[in-house]
């Protein structure tokens, strides 16, 4: 589903964020990207979401070689992928409902269908009663859940999340992870970047360990060493 082949990413100024990274996430898998801050986890996810393009190597997502996706095709590619951000990236001038509806509005869904799907998505994250609230009035955990509801409302086949529990206390982190687990159980391929080792070990069937831009090891969660 997500395949990296010898991928390198060098930013302008010579900072090498990723070097020779190869790994594969299978369809329907839930995988973790572990490693300390600055290891290149965010960069890797940006390559999947085509926010950045690799300097070397190939990224293949859902059978498409991302190098072949032009600027014009980019929006349609991105609609296949749900992205959850550490800082939520919610729009504070509109309600929770409107935030979650945005991917559907962008895709041009009709309003009845939109309302149905938004409510289903908000119900999934347990925030149906907050649909009229503005994001700023919600707690950090709730905002993160709204971000997740928005990421899955268009029913993406792939969900990627960059430090989704970064700002959450352990209880809320657990809750969010359980949410990802449930999404994975209904067939979504999930790739989560996290530096929270304890959490990763609890949930991960598979962990990719990034260190200083290199894929250090891939394996079961229990095998991770410091």
């Amino acid at each position: 589903m997500i395949s990296f082949q010898g991928v390198g990413k060098r930013y302008e100024g010579g900072n090498e964020a990723l070097s020779d990274v190869s790994f594969q996430v299978e369809r329907g898998e839930m995988a973790f990207l572990a490693g300390p801050s600055g290891a290149g986890k965010s960069t890797l996810l940006k390559l999947v979401a085509l926010i950045e393009r690799p300097s070397r190597g190939q990224v293949i997502v859902n059978g498409q070689n991302l190098a072949g996706i032009s600027r014009r095709q980019l929006p349609f590619y991105r609609r296949q992928i749900g992205v959850v951000f550490q800082d939520h990236k919610l729009l504070n001038d509109r309600s929770v409902f409107d935030n979650v509806a945005l991917p559907l509005v962008i895709a041009g869904a009709d309003s009845a269908d939109t309302a149905k799907r938004v409510r289903a998505s908000l119900d999934l994250v347990g925030l149906l009663h907050k649909e009229k609230a503005l994001p700023v009035t919600l707690s950090t955990g709730e905002q993160q859940r709204v971000g997740i509801a928005r990421a899955v409302v268009y029913r993406p086949s792939i969900l990627i999340a960059d430090e989704p529990t970064g700002n959450l206390d352990p209880d809320l982190s657990l809750e969010v992870m359980q949410l990802f687990k449930r999404l994975n159980q209904v067939g979504t391929t999930v790739l989560i970047a996290s530096h929270d080792r304890g959490l990763v070990e609890q949930f991960a069937p598979r962990v990719f360990n990034l260190k200083a831009g290199h894929m250090a090891e891939a394996g079961e969660a229990h095998g991770i060493s410091d």
Binding site: K89, L102, I106
Partner: protein, 319 residues
Amino acid sequence: MASPTDNRGAATEKHGGLKAWLRDHLRVAVTSLGRLYRHAGTSFMTACVIGIALSLPAALQVLVGNARTVSGSWEGAARISVYLKANVSDADAKALADTVRKMDGVADVQYISADQALAEFKKLSGFSDAVSVLDKNPLPGVLVVRPTDADPDTAAALQHQLAGNPQVDQVRLDLQWLKRLTAILDIVRRVVDILASLLGLAVIFVVGNTIRLEIGGRRTEIEVSKLLGATDSFIRRPFLYHGAWYGLGGGIIACILVAVAVTLVAAPVGRLADLYGSAYVLQGLGFLGVVGLIAGGALLGWAGSWLAVARHLRAIEPT
């Protein structure tokens, strides 16, 4: 509860089509209007700037239009005065009048004999006492020729033809000044066109700058939308509508300003027309003028936001 993932491959389903396109346009038109309403004060001031810029060329256009109408009505009243030589007798003059009457391009000929001319002069000039002192009538007989065609060129050709007659002393075409007026009006119209172009450009830049600020203020929204798969045209659309609404508002304000100006000027113009014995009523923008001004304003606003959007939207990419 419907699972959000029970419909695999939903991401590729087609939501496109004309209906979706129209729906999105309607949605954007309404929401961008709502956004303008929420900042009513600022929006109104921007629209006013546009309105004032548009009202100036529009008012001048109205002025030129009125001048053309007036001068057009004068052209219809074109007369050629044919002054006969002093030795032409009354009978010869009448015969000549008949000949001229049969010429091409002549609608009517009126003969005013030297005596009639003198009597008229005495009556109208107030110099009757002074004229009585003269022992001889100094005035010539005159044929007043009304051409069928009011066009200055045909009238001039007729004038030339009449001047060739040996019994004719002088031919005066009271059209020279009209030609000059038309020429002056042409210059004024050209100046108005240039002014309108410049002010139109100003409107484009005013809207462009306003939209540039708007784009800056909605940076996050643009980034997030791009991340969620928004196409360029989707992101562009609200800004284009924003600009078009500004232009439309400006056009309406310009119409109101011109209407007020016309109303203010109408009374003195009426008095002036009275002095000329005319019932001329000052013309306003008219229906087509109003529609043109508002549509033109909207178009300029749209063009202005295109300018801003083309320059700034591409630069905003999610990081």
